[in-house]
Amino acid sequence: MSSNVKVIVIRTAGTNCNEETAFAFSRLGAHVEQVHINALIAGTKKLGDYHILALPGGFSYGDDIASGRILANELRLKLAEDIKRFIRDGKLIIGICNGFQILAKAGILPGLGWKIGQEATLFYNDSAKFEARWVHLKVESRSIWTKGMAGQIYLPVAHGEGKFIPRDKKVLDTLTGNGQIVFRYCSLDGGKPVYPDNPNGATDDIAGICDTTGRVLGLMPHPERHFLFEQHPFWTRLTQKSEFGDGAKIFENGINYVKENL
């Protein structure tokens, strides 16, 4: 059991959701450090010193060539062993938006068969543009990150390349069979979404997936942007006031898991 939960939020050129991601973890009691990827590569900071690795949103290296590609390569080529050990040690990873793109492109997600190799991608939205809007999500997996989160949540997305595409039918079936699909876009009443409920045209409305352990999570929507109550887009209409929003539970689950298991 660990009472001092240590979180590393990785940043590099173009990362821009690191502050609010760090805030979410630290507001719930974790000890958070925002570390430049250079420091991990140089070895002045060690991944092994932390329990949770967070890859926040943004435009790492401008998303030049393709979203997340260059940082994904840095992880894959320079930190692969550290990351594999991190997962083997039972620790947690969360990639949000650009972080999800990075995890997918580095092959860390869906992480089938423990080998790093790209099995899925996040590609240009069908709408051909960047869009910021709120989406309804169905929670449907056994990932430790969504413990106790039955039903639907409401989070914002903000991306131009969020369309989830698996390599092939086999990968998709495996993900479904393994229960690795964590979030699906849905309509307000939980039904089949059409645009813009599914904001990007993602295959099978997939918004977030986890690896086979359930401890590595990647999602396009931003839970850290619905962490506080007043971040809700129409909180002024809600009669039941609270301190936190729908996304807070995800961070809380991560922290609680560490406290109970590591």
């Binding site: 805030f23 420091a39 543009k129 390599r167 971040q231 002024t236």
Partner: protein
């Protein structure tokens, strides 16, 4: 050698980029939508083996799930139905993906890479004539100022470098000023693009006479840049002889700035004004630990020529203003306001050489999106004004708010501090931007001043920001400013005004070799800042920047000489007296005449029976119509601070008034930001326009829960050529309106900007934009949890009108839809407005108002309809209850008059009594009820229905124009 790699999507994947280009092509008037496929081309130079190229392709350039690549050099097949156009950036224009591609290749362990350029190849399938293809190429696929068509893609150049002679051998250019007569002086100014007038040239001449020598070219450039209208604001700070009517008594205005804008702030003397007018942004107190700063800038001329790049670098520039305020503030949010010609304007009625407004809008919005989103700064608020007068000269206002710890707003350069340049490298881009913006646009501006057009690199600026804020916390530098217009010349010149400076220009890191010394000095390459660093901290500072992969270079020293001395490869190229640069500008007297325009009285329709149609026309007017399609491409929620977002209501599509954000995530203290702009009021009276815009900006902040006690203003004047007395006359009158209104409201100005010479010379005729003032307001909010939004909340609640409606249709949307301007533009009753705003503040603090919306363009009718469809609820309204004063009592006046200082409020029946008490002595009347049924019904003066519509239909009408 150079490898050419082509990347395309696999068959069966949706080519969304191709699709959106196909749509743009169809917009040009093609009968059939063509099919377009886009191929990305990478030219990679260096010692790279075939195996390495394969690795680069497999692991970096393509996403194997959806893309494939090839590197054979077969010519693309073309046929009558298949056209191939390849577009590349011109040499010297920053290729946005070059640096990261090189990094990505090196990460793979391929070290032989030396240069990268990219291009895009468009495969257009469809029946298209050669002429149509030419039009598609120039109007959709590229902008010739920064790009060109690659004639033969199979021909790979020998090198990607820019061929340039060695710069170490050079001659210092001496300009013969001493022997020049008046005519020659003017010629020198014109041919050198100095934009200095004869008086200024003569002052320079006599200064060098005293020095006993002729100036060098770079000395003249430095003077021209420092004295430019852009940097010096000669109109606002010079002497003006002002008359109302040609025969009126002349009035001498010593400084328009000091007697109007600054005078308000001096008189009000608010202790929460921390730093006003002298820094890159105005600074006011926020909480006990922090201050906030606010700046709004224009980037009109560049945006007219290259909308994407112009707006892109406009946003980048104003963010650098925040980074360059005090010892650097952290950017919190953006606000952007544009003035365009209507997107449906016919191409034939545009001035020649002007880009179509649709293209301008698309480019500007994309430019703002690109920079703001990539830097992770939410664009939370904005406005767009459409008017045909902006066809040749669009306006682009970019604003940024920053947060700065108390005490860090003070900067001071000390003798002996080192001059350090950080950020992007210097290239030939943006030469003469400062002086260029001080002249009018002409039909051939596109070719003459193409050097003034640039593309930004937001990721470079984000890196600079990250490193800078670390260095600030460590206290490693004593002052900082951004390189904006005028580049190093402006930044070093300003910082070294008191100390003098010595700069070795050859130390500046360059994008490519071959730059001349004067080009390095005045280049306006983006993403650069200049800092002054005490020598004891230099090593630590350089390390902070190196850790974040940002270049930082010592260029010289603030040496205490009182002179500006420039060297290039050891040879002195400039030796100027700082006092002359900063104080030698001769005072000019400009003539100003304000002539009241001759206006035609409005002619209202006879019948007022059915105004549903008029409401629909108002809702679908471009100025009023939903901007959702634009708001959604901006990331308005990054940083997690947004509290009142630009879109509100249960369907997140209602138009909110001001935006509210938190200053910090761990506190409920917030910032409200809004803008007031209305050019049609100014066509009637610029003074009234200023007062109305100030009222609008303030009342929007009041509407979301702000307090009049803590609102500060920014002014941005965009006007025509101030050397023409009529233009200057209306400018003076507008500034006087600013003075009057801001003083009456007790809201100080803290910063501002003017962009003059917004004229477009075409076929010998000078077309000026309508004089335009943008008032931006910032308010400090005690508790963001008490914010109020404009969407109706609950059926059964009452609807109240606050404030009196007058017979003021002049300049309104209603009249514009009737093809008229009118005469009676809205006035402001300051005393009543202040009283009203204080009462609303009190009511909001007590939580008595369920929803609140200000009345602006489209009047009460539009405001009521917006509240209804934003909340998904109906409303019944009795017009005869609306507080009104005026000779004519007509339904259309009551509904569509745009009188100032008015709101509509939704109130729960339990709070009605308490509210009535608060609003004693203020026009305040119950005019209707919120209904569960989705109908919007307004009853006229004789209780007859004058508007009757379904809210979903009204919403659709409001949403569709800019979808």
């Amino acid at each position: 050698m150079i490898w050419r790699v082509e990347v395309k999507q696999r068959d069966g994947t949706l080519d969304t980029q191709g699709l959106s280009i196909a749509r743009d092509i169809t917009d040009l008037g093609l009968s059939e939508m063509p099919q377009v496929r886009v191929v990305s081309v990478f030219l990679l130079e260096g010692q790279i083996s075939r195996d390495e190229i394969k690795r680069i392709g497999d692991e970096l350039l393509v996403d194997q799930i959806v893309e494939q690549y090839s590197f054979d050099l077969k010519l693309p097949l073309q046929s009558a139905d298949h056209h191939v156009v390849e577009i590349a950036y011109n040499p010297g224009v920053m290729d946005p993906v070059e640096a990261s591609t090189i990094k990505g290749i090196r990460d793979l362990g391929v070290t032989g890479i030396s240069a990268v350029r990219t291009a895009r190849q468009y495969h257009i399938h469809g029946k298209i004539s050669a002429k149509q293809l030419e039009s598609i190429t120039t109007r959709v696929l590229m902008n010739k100022l920064i790009q060109h068509v690659v004639k033969d893609p199979s021909h790979v150049p020998a090198t990607l470098g820019i061929a340039a002679p060695s710069a170490s051998k050079f001659d210092v250019m001496i300009v013969d000023l001493l022997g020049a007569n008046d005519k020659k002086l003017s010629e020198i100014s014109k041919s050198g693009q100095l934009y200095l007038n004869l008086d200024e040239m003569k002052a320079t001449q006599s200064h060098f006479k005293k020095e006993g020598r002729n100036p060098t070219d770079v000395e003249l450039e430095t003077i021209a840049q420092t004295w430019s209208e852009h940097c010096r604001h000669k109109t606002f700070r010079g002497v003006i002889r002002y008359r109302e009517d040609k025969t009126g008594k002349p009035q001498i205005i010593r400084s328009l700035f000091k007697t109007t804008i600054a005078a308000v702030t001096v008189k009000l003397n608010k202790k929460w004004c921390v730093s006003v007018f002298h820094d890159n942004a105005g600074v006011i107190a926020f909480d006990k630990d922090y201050n906030v700063c606010f700046k709004v800038e224009t980037h009109n001329h560049p945006s007219a020529l290259e909308p994407f790049g112009g707006a892109n670098t406009g946003v980048g520039g104003v963010i650098r203003d925040t980074l360059g305020t005090g010892l650097a503030a952290k950017p919190l949010c953006n606000t952007d306001v544009f003035c365009f010609a209507p997107p449906d304007m016919s191409a034939s009625s545009l001035p020649s050489g002007a880009l179509h407004p649709k293209r301008v809008m698309k480019g500007v919005v994309s430019g703002v999106r690109d920079y703001g989103n990539k830097m992770g700064i939410p664009t939370v608020n904005g406005a767009i004004v459409f008017d045909e007068h902006f066809a040749g000269n669009p306006l682009v206002f970019c604003g940024n708010i920053g947060l700065i710890p108390k005490g860090k707003e003070i900067k001071r350069v000390s003798k002996g501090d080192l001059i350090v340049a950080v950020g992007g490298r210097t290239g030939r881009d943006g030469i003469h931007g400062a002086t260029f913006s001080s002249g009018e646009l002409t039909g051939d501006s596109q070719t003459v001043s193409s050097g003034a057009v640039q593309i930004g690199n937001p990721i470079e600026e984000k890196k600079v920001q990250d490193a800078l804020l670390k260095a600030r916390e460590a206290g490693l530098y004593s002052a900082i400013t951004d390189c904006g217009a005028g580049g190093f010349s402006s930044a070093v010149g300003e910082m070294g005004e008191k100390t003098g400076a010595r700069v070795d220009l050859d130390r500046a890191p360059l994008k490519y070799q071959g730059l001349k010394y004067h080009e390095i000095w005045i280049s306006e390459s983006q993403e650069r800042m200049v800092m002054s660093v005490p020598p004891v901290h230099i090593e630590a500072l350089l390390k902070v920047f190196a850790d974040e992969n940002v270049e930082a270079t010592v260029l010289g020293e603030f040496d205490g000489s009182g002179r500006l001395q420039l060297f290039f490869h050891g040879q002195q190229v400039a030796d100027l007296d700082m006092r002359f640069i900063h104080d030698g500008l001769p005072k000019t007297i400009k003539e100003a005449v304000y002539q009241k325009p001759v206006l035609k009285k409005e002619n209202l329709p006879k019948s007022n029976q059915d105004l549903t149609e008029s409401l629909c026309s108002a809702l679908s007017h471009y100025n009023v119509a939903s901007k959702e399609s634009i708001i959604r491409v901006y990331d308005h929620e990054v940083q997690g601070t947004s509290v009142v977002k630009p879109l509100v209501g249960p369907s997140t599509d209602g138009p909110s008034d001001a935006a509210v954000i938190r200053g910090r995530l761990d506190s409920k203290r917030g910032i409200a930001v809004s803008n007031g702009i209305n050019v049609r009021y100014g066509m009637i009276d610029p003074l009234g326009m200023a007062a109305s815009c100030i009222d609008e900006a303030i009342r929007q902040i009041i509407a979301v829960g702000g307090s009049l006690e803590r609102i500060a203003l920014l002014d941005n004047f965009c006007w025509g050529n101030p050397d023409k007395p009529d233009r200057l006359g209306s400018l003076v009158r507008c500034a006087q309106g600013c003075y009057k209104a801001a003083l009456a409201f007790g809201t100080p100005f803290i910063s501002g900007k003017d962009s003059l010479y917004n004229e477009y010379t075409h076929k010998g005729k000078s077309l000026a934009i309508p004089g335009t003032i943008l008032i931006s307001a910032i308010g400090i909010v005690d508790d963001v949890g008490k914010s109020v939004t404009m969407d109706l909340k609950k059926a059964g609640n009452s609807i109240y009108a606050i404030g009196t409606t007058f017979d003021e249709l002049g300049g309104s949307i209603y009249l514009e839809n009737l093809g008229q301007l009118g005469t009676n533009a809205p006035q402001v009753n300051f005393k009543m407005a202040v009283k009203t705003y204080k009462a609303i503040e009190k009511a909001n603090k007590a939580g008595l108002i369920a929803s609140l919306h200000d009345c602006s363009e489209g009047g009460a009718a539009v405001a009521l309809a917006e509240m209804a469809f934003a909340g998904g609820l109906g409303a019944t309204v009795l017009l005869k209850k609306l507080p009104y004063k005026g000779k004519q009592r007509r339904e259309d006046i009551l509904l569509f008059s745009e009188s100032n200082s008015r709101f509509l409020a939704e109130v729960s029946p339990v709070h009605e009594k308490a509210l009535a008490k608060i609003f004693k002595g203020i026009a305040f009347a119950k005019i209707g009820t919120v209904e569960a049924s989705p109908e919007f019904v307004v009853y006229g003066l004789h209780d007859q229905p004058v508007i009757n519509a379904r809210i979903d239909e009204l919403k659709e009408i409001w949403k569709s124009p800019l979808k």
